[in-house]
């Protein structure tokens, strides 16, 4: 990290004046009100609203999207340094000398998120109309989804940490409700509970951070905290950073608090697409980027962030290789991609912009991939095992096409989105310099290769090869209400990256908030070349293992015939010896650790608390004389302590 880089962000982020919103931006709170009203109508309206519930459910996020676009256009009318606007709503909490307003901060960062949440969210709501059409509880589902959108918007638009915390808990609540939506499945209920418990750990970290902020700065507003952050000292900044990281880890399913995300796939697929891929799980990244002025002050905290990101991106990718459940494979991929974002966010101002850019395009392609998976699942009688798929590209051509575009985007093939946002992260990691930079960069690069491997695997196993369907499966292409969102998302997945990153459009837009990264060194660098090579390698190995054996000629194979042919020379034996065996071993190991290690930690913790609860409970004998004894002992202790203080 060079000195110029370190110096930049503090000025950029903390010295930004936040002006009061004027004109049309003053109605930004409508963004929250629409989905909230939708949720209230749908959840309180009862069965009366069954008939038109889904219409309301789709209309509300779309209305929010319109408001977000209007707000965004209005923002573009201001000069770059005056785009952060505060929308005061009402005084929320005022205790003693402490004062929190419920206000919205509309700036470049939050509006990016708002557009993503409402835009992608509307599309997924639309998809869900078809997907949930046979579910008797569709109205309730839309109620929860609208609740989620409102809470997520509150999270990103809040102008202080406390309000953000409210949104944070709100999205958590909506997420638990939706994971457990199909309550009749015990696994769904267990998954909801697990998500809740794991998130408690993160929430504890976040709330202690807020208390620490209050104790140090006497305020929790962004402007107040960031303005004084540099005066707080390195230790406080490190503590704050690590506590916020703990919160981010839980919400964004980062190691070591990642275990809930895979189980969360028990929820309906639109939920997985919206909450557990596109938006909520990225809240941790938002938290870190939003708190940039704090992280900028502490190398230690940033290092922890990068390590968490790098470990998770490999961890998630390896898990993605091991899962036969299409949704869980995609969930592993989500962990991995968020790992990239966290890694980028940990790189400081050199990476913040790329983290957010990757987050946005990830929202497009991962939502698209999940919707594709949902469409397949919908048509295959709720089957999610990829070993029961195969050959679907013939019967579901639109789904297959959109999924393929998503696949190209996620593995980062030029000119698809992932290429433009993932490569800068890898490059920035290498540019960090030193051993840590090399390690992080290599991890990110290897991760890209593994990503290509497992995503190709998913694609091949699902859409190509023999039909390994259950006998009673009769898949057809899904109706237009479901394909149209997938098509729109596929367009985003294809073009968003180029649109955002070419000509530094997004970098220039966001840098007043996050600080600018160093100028890029052209489109094709040695790093991106090497990455591309690894990606190709991964895809080809996957093809060799899953595509070639069944159907010799496939579309991806035709795309890279030379490499494939050269690779083929090594033969299956080498494949097996060099990659497959260790790979399987590695995947098995990681799954083992996922089940035993991390879950084990949580379980041990729970068992300890539960055990001590059981032991303490036995003190409550039911005999009044033993209660009196406990009081007497307490009295001795209390008198003793007070006298000790005196002596």
């Amino acid at each position: 990290m060079t000195g110029t880089l370190a110096g930049l962000p503090m000025r950029a982020a903390s010295a930004l004046p936040t002006l009061a919103a004027v004109g049309v931006q003053r109605t930004a709170w409508l963004m929250l009100v629409f989905p909230l009203a939708g949720a209230l109508v749908l959840l309180l309206g009862g069965r009366r609203t069954n008939r038109f519930g889904h219409v309301v459910g789709v209309a509300m996020p779309f209305a929010s999207f319109v408001v977000a676009v209007i707000t965004f256009v209005a923002m573009l009318g201001y000069p770059a340094s005056q785009r952060a606007r505060d929308v005061h709503m009402f005084t929320w909490i005022s205790v003693g000398g402490f004062h929190v307003d419920a206000g919205l901060l509309v700036d470049q960062l939050s509006i990016s998120f708002a557009l993503l949440i409402t835009g992608v969210g509307s599309l997924i709501h639309l998809f869900a109309v078809g997907y949930m059409s046979h579910d008797p509880d569709r109205r309730r589902f839309f109620g929860y989804m609208n609740l989620f959108v409102a809470a997520m918007l509150l999270l990103v638009l809040a102008d202080n940490y406390l309000l953000m915390y409210a949104g944070w808990e709100g999205v958590g609540l909506a997420s638990y409700l939706l994971i457990g939506f199909w309550q009749y499945k015990p696994s769904a209920a267990a998954a909801a509970k697990k998500a809740f418990v794991v998130n408690r750990v993160g929430v504890a970290g976040f709330s202690v951070a807020i208390m620490l902020m209050f104790a140090t700065f006497g305020t929790v507003t962004y402007t107040g905290v960031f303005g004084q952050a540099s005066s707080a000292g390195r230790g406080t900044a490190t503590a704050l950073g690590l506590l916020l990281l703990l919160g981010a880890c839980a919400k964004s399913a980062q190691v070591p608090l990642q275990s809930w995300l895979l189980d969360a796939m028990e929820g309906p697929t639109p939920v997985s697409a919206l909450i557990h891929a596109a938006t909520m799980v990225t809240a941790g990244v938002y938290l870190i980027v939003r708190s940039a002025p704090i992280f900028n002050l502490s190398m230690t905290a940033r290092l922890a962030v990068t390590v968490v990101g790098a470990v998770t991106l490999l961890f998630g990718a390896i898990i993605g290789c091991a899962k036969d459940d299409i949704k869980k494979a995609l969930a592993g991929s989500t962990m991995s991609q968020i790992g990239y974002m966290v890694l980028a966010a940990g790189l400081g101002p050199a990476g913040y912009v790329f983290a957010i850019a990757h987050l946005i395009v990830h929202g497009f392609f991962k939502a698209g991939l999940f919707l594709g998976a949902g469409a397949v699942k919908h048509e295959m009688n709720d089957e999610v095992d990829m070993r029961r798929f195969g050959g679907l590209r013939v019967v579901m051509p639109i789904t297959a096409a959109t999924f393929t575009i998503g696949w190209l985007a996620i593995i980062g093939v030029w000119p698809f989105s992932g290429f433009f946002t993932k490569d800068p992260i890898i490059a920035a990691a290498f540019a960090k310099g030193g051993i840590s930079g090399a390690l992080l960069g290599s991890a990110a690069m290897i991760g890209a290769g593994i990503t290509a491997f497992y995503m190709t695997r998913v694609l091949l196993m699902t859409f190509t090869g023999h039909r390994r369907w259950e006998p009673d499966a009769h898949p057809h292409e899904v109706p237009p209400v479901m394909t149209s969102p997938m098509i729109v998302l596929a367009i985003g997945a294809a073009g968003a990256g180029a649109f955002l990153m070419l000509g530094n459009r997004f970098v220039d837009f966001l840098s007043p908030v996050t600080g600018a990264p160093p100028a890029s060194r052209g489109l094709i660098t040695p790093v991106s070349g090497a990455t591309l090579a690894l990606v190709v390698l991964g895809a080809v190995i996957a093809w060799a293992m899953y595509g070639r054996r069944e159907i010799p000629v496939t579309a991806p194979a035709a795309r890279f015939p030379v490499v494939a042919a050269r690779k083929d020379l090594y033969g299956d034996a080498v494949n097996e010896a060099v990659f497959m065996r260790p790979g399987q071993w590695l995947t098995r190991l990681s799954v083992y650790f996922d089940n035993r290690g991390v879950d084990g930690l949580v379980n041990t913790l729970a068992a300890t608390v539960g055990g001590s609860s059981g032991r303490l409970r036995r003190v409550q004998t039911g005999f009044v004389r033993s209660y009196a004894l406990s009081m007497l002992v307490g009295a001795v202790l209390l008198v003793g302590v007070l006298l000790l203080v005196r002596i």
């Binding site: 004998t621 039911g622 007497l632 008198v639």
Partner: protein
């Protein structure tokens, strides 16, 4: 400097000191006996000793009003009520003194001694100066002074105790008085009932031919076996009473109640910490 010493020394003189030491020993011993005596009636008598000792101490300390209140209200009224109840229940009733919780006595003893030591340290360390001169608040004007305080400075809490008394009266009514829900049986009803029942003649009273005549002592039948009819059914059900064998060689009249279960009736099977 010993607090008791100060207290004693600050009053009238050597006579008071002597009285203090004698009464202190008596009252502490009686209080210990009160706690340790298995029979309730012994406890009541020992309580009377404690209260009387305290009353004398108050008197010696120049607080005659308190001394008399102590005797009239506590020893005279409250304790007599205790004794009435004990007589009705059975004067020789004894509680089971067996301890069923492991370590309870040891722990209680240790904690009690601990608190005692701590409080002794407190009082021992406290530098209690000479008490206020035994002025007008004590001795002959004590009653007036008390009256003055009660009706001026402390008039509000004093009046407030009426709430406590009303509550107590109401509580006694609630807990003890059973409202009649069916018409009272007439003389005729009772006679008819008796003739139709198994025992046209009066039931034997408690204590007939037995060693004592307490209410919980069953009468003995001609063959020496106790008659359960002679006892009030409520009393017969009472644990610990009427278990005693009236004479040597005579089998116990009633099945013994469950011993050592004074944690209260425990109706809930799912309570924590089942009884050992």
């Amino acid at each position: 400097m010993n607090a008791a010493h100060v207290l004693a020394a600050s009053t009238v003189g050597a006579g008071a000191v002597v009285a203090f030491w004698i009464l202190a020993v008596i009252s502490v011993a009686a209080a210990l006996g009160l706690v340790l005596a298995p029979r309730a009636v012994h406890g009541a008598v020992l309580l009377a000793v404690v209260m009387l000792s305290l009353a004398v101490l108050y008197g010696v300390a120049g607080a005659p009003f308190l001394a008399f209140v102590q005797i009239i209200v506590y020893t005279g009224a409250v304790l007599m009520l205790f004794l009435f109840v004990l007589m009705i229940v059975g004067v020789s009733a004894a509680d089971s003194m067996r301890e069923t919780i492991r370590g309870q006595r040891l722990a209680a003893g240790l904690a009690g001694i601990g608190l005692l030591v701590l409080l002794a340290l407190v009082v021992g360390h406290a530098a209690i100066g000479p008490a206020a001169p035994a002025g007008s608040n004590y001795g002959v004007l004590n009653v007036q002074r008390l009256a003055q305080l009660i009706f001026t400075r402390y008039v509000f809490p004093f009046e407030l105790t009426s709430a406590l008394l009303i509550t107590a009266a109401l509580g006694a009514m609630v807990l003890a008085h059973r409202e009649r829900t069916s018409p009272k049986p007439s003389q005729r009803d009772l006679a008819r009932q008796r003739v139709r029942g198994d025992h046209p003649a009066p039931l034997p009273g408690p204590g007939v031919y037995a060693r004592g005549d307490a209410a919980d002592m069953p009468a003995l039948l001609p063959d020496g076996t106790p008659s359960p009819l002679s006892l009030n059914p409520v009393m017969a059900r009472r644990r610990g009473s009427a278990i005693r064998v009236p004479g040597p060689g005579v089998p116990a009249p009633l099945p013994p109640g469950e011993p050592g279960k004074d944690g209260g009736p425990d109706a809930e099977p799912d309570r924590e910490g089942a009884h050992p």
